[in-house]
């Protein structure tokens, strides 16, 4: 095992706890805990938002997908970044000016409906859990892959560190922690990439897709995990060890879904046009509906700074997403055995040692990348936990004005318990797929609610509820069917596995239609609310 690995991981954990403890010195009141007293500067805030957003799916998953499927999946990073542009254009400044703390608060400010507030709470909890679960799973799998330890311990350690940090430091501390973790994640991908590119140059720039097919760069042994057929001719059994010499062609494995040939370079569409557009819609519009993303905007001092913060976030996130693609591409040259085992998510973790050799440099950079992955798990799950706990605190425990910090800690424990238990018992669910589904649910529930609530006076509480139930409910049902149901094939599989292309328009249509029919229920103070959402703060006198 890599000797630098354990010290690196422990250092990240200690730094996270230490920065959290440092932040604790400033967290005194409940309001400090929930929104950091709205006094976080835009640059800190932007780094914190980016740090929170770049999850395991971004850090490990994107590179793994690129390694497997090539150019077709570049829509993931593009969509993850473009989500912030949609948020900037339609939501950022008015949402901050609404003065609400959480999404359910926004429902109350805009439509004065308790029923809608409860429904929104349910959606926040569902999306929060759906997003938290794969983070913990990813942490468990990474620990298991790298240390040979058990999956459950990895998931549990991350869950405990995150819960303690949120419960004792709240969001104020989390802001510092998240900002630190953005820079750590960027460094952890950027520095090894410099050495990897130099190595690639030194190796005489090997082709990414040699005409004869992908080849092994060095002698490699691959242990077969499932019975399969190689190249459609030779069958192998689970447990069999295959040996390949340097320069051998990588055989096509029947059990692994990936692009083995030069098609990888071209947008040929194993993925249909429907699935591509569904993915684009889910990622472009889903970001604004993720509860942990929105809660960050309340920490800006005013609407204009919320806008500037979002722009900086867009730049920071875009800068980050240049890197995972490169890892996927170089993985094609240096770690093609991952195509055979199907564990392509490990490409970021394994590439430095595979390309640079297992000398000190390769191992040191390998440890750095792993530390970055740990930061990705920690930051996203901290952010999610803070926002879910915030909603449990205000809407489920309902302590009213006398809410104490102790109540917030109870809420944090409650919020962490369910996903942790689920993560311990469910280990075989497809990680990157669940993240995509969380985006689809958010895009079909909160996106229409926010966009129509902010820009259209005619929205009514009945319309909003109907739209949430129709669009969000349909997306939720599709998620449950995908995760728990039987494997689907053909046309129905596409419609259920990538639901956004029909659930998002459905939510918008139902929301607008029902609102038009219940026009008398438009809140009487909608004019004042609109003024508050859109007028610059300088006019508030």
């Amino acid at each position: 095992m890599n000797p630098y690995l354990a010290p690196g991981l422990i250092l990240v954990l200690l730094l996270t706890v230490a920065i959290g403890a440092y932040g604790l010195r400033f967290a005194r009141t409940t309001s400090d805990f929930l929104v950091a007293s709205r006094s976080v500067s835009p640059s800190w805030n932007a780094a914190a938002i980016s740090g929170e957003y770049l999850s395991a799916a971004s850090f490990l998953g994107v590179a793994g997908l690129v390694l497997r499927y090539g150019v077709d999946v570049l829509w993931y990073p593009v969509g993850f970044a473009a989500g912030y542009l949609a948020l900037l254009l339609f939501v950022a400044a008015p949402l901050r000016r609404s003065g609400a703390f959480t999404l359910p608060d926004f429902c109350q400010v805009r439509l004065r409906s308790t029923a809608l507030r409860r429904l929104a709470t349910a959606f926040v909890l569902f999306i929060g859990c759906l997003y938290l679960l794969p983070q913990l799973q990813g942490a468990g799998l990474t620990f298991a892959t790298l240390t040979g330890g058990s999956y459950a311990w990895g998931a549990l350690v991350v869950a405990v560190v995150v819960t303690a940090n949120v419960a004792f430091g709240g969001m104020r501390a989390i802001t510092f922690v998240q900002a630190f973790q953005y820079w750590l994640k960027l460094t952890a991908l950027a520095v090894p990439m410099i050495f990897l590119i130099l190595q690639w140059q030194a190796d005489g720039r090997p082709q990414v897709t040699p005409p004869a097919g992908t080849v092994f760069p060095a002698a490699t042994t691959v242990v077969v995990e499932q019975d399969a057929v190689l190249d459609g001719t030779r069958s192998v059994e689970a447990g069999e060890t295959l040996r390949f010499a340097a320069g051998d062609r990588v055989p096509q494995v029947s059990t692994v879904d990936a692009e083995f040939g030069a098609d990888w370079l071209l947008p040929d569409g194993k993925q249909s046009l429907f699935a591509t557009y569904s993915l684009i819609l889910a990622t472009f519009l889903g970001t604004m509906g993720l509860p942990h993303v929105l809660v960050r905007f309340y920490t800006n001092p005013d609407g204009a700074s919320a806008r500037r913060t979002t722009l900086v976030v867009l730049a920071m996130v875009g800068l980050f997403y240049l890197l995972p693609t490169l890892y996927g591409v170089l993985g094609r040259i240096y770690t093609p055995q991952l195509l055979m085992t199907g564990s392509s998510d490990a490409v970021v973790l394994l590439l430095p040692e595979a390309a640079l050799g297992d000398g000190h440099l390769g191992r040191l950079l390998g440890a750095l990348v792993t530390a970055g992955a740990l930061a990705a798990f920690l930051s996203t799950s901290s952010g999610l936990l803070t926002s879910v706990a915030g909603v449990i605190f205000t809407d489920v425990l309902r302590p009213g004005r006398n809410g104490s910090i102790r109540d917030f800690r109870v809420a944090t424990l409650l919020a962490a318990a369910v996903p942790t238990l689920l993560a311990l018992y469910v280990s075989d669910m497809d990680v990157s797929r669940v993240v995509g589904l969380a985006f689809a649910v958010a895009a079909s529930s909160f996106c229409p609610l926010l966009v129509l609530g902010i820009w259209w006076r005619g929205l009514t509480d009945v319309g909003a509820i109907a739209g949430l139930v129709a669009g969000g409910g349909a997306a939720m049902a599709a998620v449950l069917l995908t995760v728990l149901g039987p494997p689907l094939t053909g046309w129905s599989a596409e419609v259920i596995n990538q639901p956004a292309a029909w659930t998002v328009p459905l939510a918008f249509l139902v929301m607008v239609g029902v609102s038009l029919f219940s026009g008398r229920r438009v809140p009487p103070d909608v004019g004042a609310t609109m003024l508050r959402l859109h007028a610059p703060e300088s006019l508030r006198g």
Binding site: A82, L89, V109, G318, L531, R532
Partner: protein, 129 residues
Amino acid sequence: MAVEEPPPRPRVRVVLADAAARRAAADHGSADLAEQTPVGEALVKGLVRAQLALALRLALVVAAGLGTLPLLFAVAPAVGEVKLFGMNLPWVLLGLLSFPFLVLVGAAYVRWAERNEQDFAALIRRPEK
């Protein structure tokens, strides 16, 4: 935090929600806004419309710039074979150029949205012009 007791002067309280630095509405524009007169309503509607039009226009730029790419790749597969700096065009467009493009659109939005707000504020402060 969202619902408060009805204060004695509700119309002023709603607008001046951040009660810390409250001052009396000194001029026509602010008074129109605060008291929800037809003039005030029309001013706010104008602002909302201007901001929405700006956001939609830029969203359309992105939809045209990025959203049509899957269709283009499907209709004209030859585009995928075009090489730029030794890389296939779709890789350059999606993996590299899409991010600065998004940031540029965002920067343009921030600039113009703030200008809309300044125009609105100027209109309120000097309504006679």
